[in-house]
Symmetry: C2
Subunit: 333 residues, 2 copies
């Protein structure tokens, strides 16, 4: 299998992507990597010779966070994201992986690769660590305006991704809401509750904000506005919290000693709740493999994302998504 890795995307580019690619080659013989980006910048990162399973595809344009995701195909046709996804479209690679501009990946993948049959709206999923195995939350930003049928599609796509690719058996689907009773919420969520409840045997019910991390639901469904806000709020708070503790510890010898003694506990928790450790998630609903990674991704995240791309193909994510959506065809017509 051959994957295109956006070497220019993310906070740690191009070093993190390249290191991630090298780690992946050590773990599996089955993978070749095309590093896409500025050739000189990429070559500079290699100390010795470049392994034969890695090739470099040079592009001339750079996408930054000020670019409009929606306009990137026309504005930056020779960028890592647009060119990289084109390689997948043209059958020259099996999947695309990027920690770059999420909106650009989303738009380019949707327009160039198209949607899986029956999909109305591709969706972004994020992995959330939790005490008892990970959860996914979907959508986290692709669809700030959504309809009940879209939420049903997100639920089907995300739960079968967990089941077929991440091998979580019988994942339970929760609908994020402001109360547990099915009558709670706004119009969108009241209708979505009815629809999910009617269509999905593994629908767990509504999950309130306070139980997002500890309810039994493994898949948390919401519109992209709510999902994006929650996800970013969680990250922001985590940072503030850690910084407060760090600052406190630096303030006296007693605290410094105490901090040293319990450091392993913090490292453990930090590792467990680190969004970045897990790697990316596939863009759901797009007719091709496109993995979106967190902007702060390090080598391990890229490694895991490459392995995820491989697992997505090995486990026929796209075929199964199509089949599972087809089972609810009368709703989506």
């Amino acid at each position: 299998m051959k994957f295109v890795l956006d070497a220019m995307g993310g906070d740690n580019a191009p070093n993190a992507a390249i290191k991630g690619a090298l780690l992946a080659l050590n773990i599996t013989d089955d993978v070749e990597i095309i590093l896409i980006g500025n050739e000189d910048a990429i070559k500079n990162e290699f100390v010795g010779t470049i392994p034969s399973r890695i090739s470099i595809h040079h592009v001339t344009q750079n996408i930054d966070m000020h670019d409009s995701g929606a306009k990137v195909i026309k504005a930056k046709p020779d960028s890592a994201i647009v060119k990289g996804i084109r390689l997948v479209k043209d059958g020259l690679a099996d999947g695309f992986i990027s920690a770059g501009h999420t909106g650009a990946v989303m738009t380019a993948a949707t327009l160039l690769l198209g949607r899986i049959p029956y999909v109305k709206r591709p969706a972004l999923t994020a992995y959330i660590p939790s005490e008892n195995g990970g959860k996914v939350i979907c959508d986290v930003g692709a669809n700030p305006d959504a309809k009940p049928e879209h939420l049903l599609q997100f639920a089907i796509m995300a739960s079968h991704y967990l089941e077929y690719v991440e091998k979580q058996k019988h994942p339970k689907i929760g609908l994020i809401n402001i109360g547990e009773e099915s009558s709670k919420g706004n119009e969108l969520y009241k209708k979505a509750n009815q629809l999910l409840s009617a269509e999905l045997p593994n629908f767990y019910g509504n999950v309130e904000g306070r139980h997002l991390l500890d309810s039994e639901a493994n898949v948390l469904i919401c519109d992209g506005f709510v999902g994006n806000t929650i996800l970013k709020f969680g990250e922001g708070w985590m940072n503030i919290f850690y910084n407060s503790i760090k600052k406190g510890i630096s303030e006296s010898l007693r605290y410094k000693i105490g901090g040293f003694l319990i450091k392993p506990i913090f490292n453990n928790i930090k590792k467990k709740y680190d969004f970045e450790e897990h790697g990316g998630t596939p863009l759901l609903g797009v007719n091709g493999i496109a993995i979106v990674c967190h902007g702060a991704s390090g080598p391990k995240s890229f490694l895991n994302s490459i392995l995820l791309a491989k697992k997505s193909i090995d486990n026929k994510l796209i075929d199964y998504t199509k089949r599972e959506l087809a089972a609810h065809l009368e709703v989506f017509k």
Copy 2:
């Protein structure tokens, strides 16, 4: 001034409310308290004689979390919440304070006290602690479906509450959104951004989830679905996080010693980020003083809520809310 305190509301009833009332009497000579609830249950909490500035108003019905807030006036007319708010309506008290069923307080206050002129929808506000003084977030659940004009009203009411009652000078108003650019968000938030930007000189702009706690905005505006979800998610995560640390510390002697040494840091952070420490917030837009407290409120929260009720009257919250809304009358027509 005379305030009705719901003795039956919250996780620590009736003890916490009674202790809070006693603390308030020690701090200010200006306040009398009517404890409303089951007379026996209330009297049982007093060790000595009941101070002359405290009276007890007996009611026969109890509201629990399974009651529908919307139906409570008819279903439980002799409950602490309905009767207590009626005392305010009838001019027998100057304000009502409860840590009980928020939906019931919301409905009873709106229907019995009415709305301040020009108010379309009363709103719930929550105080969020942050590094540089507190912030308020509004709405946190009263309006899961909202329109741009409602968000404008929330912004006006919440910012002037901070300014007139909490004495924060020139609070800045942020609109919660999924991107900083004014073009970001869903239809509701795009329109709200335009409206707030046109009407409010102290509009700061959009605030993303990751910066809710550390942006310069002191007032965070959103619909009740988003606000409620964020607020509860924050609380839920805080609990999980603390429990993970506690569990880690209990696991070895080394960690126990470390934990003991840095305990003051945690207590400090916990205190700073404790939603409960601050006490309640006034229901905004209702034509009377009704303070909603967190369900987990302890004596200090009740004390602060009583003082807040007093400050709200001293600083003419209702008159100013009316005046400030009137300045944007053409939008609300």
